[in-house]
């Protein structure tokens, strides 16, 4: 990316656009589409929950990526930025926050649809969903903070502070919401004993996890490239 940026330097502003289709995003979308087809047509529905159980293949990967992966990337990139002050780390953090926000939004939406079907209410104050909601607010405030600071160096530094503290906050939010008793199904994939799921479901879930991870990183990469182009243009205008 750094090399393409320098070769683009000489061309007029109109030529400095990103390509209209990002190949990695395209591949990821095809993978996600494939998982949908497999989930709908070739994987048995849950005996009790029926068709709505298939949301599971969207909900759980999004939750893992949005809550854990995005927040971890945000905090690590932020911490490293405070240490070595490299702009690229700030762009990684920025991208992780925005893509994480989108994934958490998906978690909240699929969570409420699931909730309506299985608990009879769109919103239940259930620990996991509540955690996701608070993290959603946290990422929202991260983006608002970035938006409120014009100086690039200050924006990177202050949002990195917020990013690092956010990771410390996550376990406390979990502890807090677990003071309530939950309605949420117990974790059925990530638990010490063998997963309690039929093998077809498990393999579909595995594929979904791969496809959504691919989508997560493809979107992050696209967002990162956009941020690089934006910063490079700002530098040219300033110089």
């Amino acid at each position: 990316m750094m090399t393409t940026a320098s070769t683009l330097e000489a061309r007029p502003a109109t030529a400095r656009r990103l390509p209209p289709v990002d190949w990695l995003v395209l591949v990821a979308l095809i993978a996600v589409g494939g998982v949908f087809v497999r989930a709908m047509l070739y994987t048995p529905a849950d005996a009790m929950l029926g068709a709505v159980q298939r949301l599971f293949y969207v909900h759980v990967p999004s939750a893992i990526l949005g809550m854990y992966v995005a927040c971890t990337v945000l905090a690590i990139a932020g911490g490293l930025y405070l240490w070595i002050k490299d702009d690229r780390l700030d762009r990684v953090a920025e991208s992780a926050a925005e893509v994480g926000f989108v994934f958490l939004t998906v978690v909240l939406v699929t969570g409420s649809i699931w909730g309506k079907a299985s608990w009879g209410t769109y919103w239940a104050w259930e620990p996991r969903l509540t955690s996701a909601l608070f993290l959603w607010f946290l990422l929202l405030s991260y983006m608002v903070l970035r938006d409120a600071i014009e100086n690039r160096e200050a924006r990177a530094r202050l949002s990195a502070v917020l990013g690092v503290l956010a990771l410390l906050l996550v376990p406390f939010i979990h502890m807090t919401v677990y003071l309530f008793r939950g309605l949420h199904p117990e974790p059925i994939v990530l638990k010490p004993e063998a997963p309690s799921m039929p093998p077809e479901m498990l393999s579909t879930f595995g594929l979904a996890m791969v496809a959504f991870s691919l989508l997560f990183f493809a979107l992050m990469r696209l967002r990162y490239q956009w941020a690089t182009a934006r910063d490079a243009r700002a530098d040219r205008e300033q110089a």
């Binding site: 100086n151 690039r152 160096e153 910063d231 700002a234 530098d235 040219r236 300033q238 110089a239």
Partner: protein, 235 residues
């Protein structure tokens, strides 16, 4: 002794201060001139260790700034912002500064500096109630109360009346005589040159002119035409 070695500060891709070097001995006074946005304040903040240079380094008596407490104690900073708490009295402000410097005899030092700057009679007035010029005098007292060895001044004459300006010049002269190093940013060439043993003109982040001679040898009119030549269109 204050040494800056090819100091650069960048904001994004733009270098606000670009490759500036200087060396000042005890008793030197550098008058720094230049149009708005030339990078003078940024340079001054780096000299005081309030801002880290992107490249290069600043040392005071061989030690890097901001550094440890003993190094920071050598520093006094004055700008056009008063750096005072306007709900506190003159005495409370200066004494707070003296205590933050770690002075054992903060109360006595406060009285002495207020005496020297002719504001002892207003010692118990709340800063908010003072005129701009008197506030600036308090600000000078705040910065000098601990006898700093390096005094950085950013437009200190702003808002001072004639007697205030005279008191400030006197205070700086005696500081200089006692072996302190002074860096003074100002738009007023005659005030700056009255104290200067070194002078520099800054433009677009660089020194475009630098000379060293005793204060008495500076000719203000000559210097002014030189200045206009060098920063033509800058201001």
């Amino acid at each position: 002794m204050l040494v800056a070695e090819s100091v650069t500060r960048k904001y994004g891709a733009r270098a606000v201060v670009h490759d500036v070097s200087l060396r000042l001995n005890a008793g030197d006074c550098l008058a720094l001139f230049g149009p708005n946005g030339a990078g003078k304040t940024t340079l001054l903040r780096m000299l005081g260790g309030l801002l880290k240079p992107t490249r290069g380094r600043v040392t005071l008596q061989g030690r890097q700034l901001p550094g440890e407490a003993a190094t920071r104690r050598l520093l006094g900073v004055i700008s056009h912002k008063s750096m005072l708490y306007d709900a506190l009295t003159v005495r409370e402000n200066v004494r707070f500064a003296a205590e933050c410097q770690g002075m054992r005899s903060a109360a006595a030092a406060t009285d002495a500096i207020l005496e020297q700057l002719l504001i002892r009679d207003r010692a118990d007035t709340v800063v908010r109630a003072l005129s701009r010029g008197l506030q600036q005098r308090v600000s000078v007292a705040r910065a000098l109360v601990h006898g700093p060895r390096l005094v950085l001044l950013d437009e200190p004459y702003t808002g001072l009346d004639e007697s205030g300006a005279r008191a400030l010049t006197e205070a700086l002269r005696s500081l200089k005589a006692s072996g302190a190093t002074v860096v003074l940013i100002t738009h007023n060439l005659s005030e700056g040159l009255a104290l200067a043993t070194e002078s520099a003109i800054m433009c677009n982040g660089q020194f475009v002119h630098q000379q060293s001679r005793p204060a008495a040898d500076y000719n203000v009119t000559e210097y002014a035409s030189r200045y206009r030549e060098l920063v033509a269109g800058g201001e």
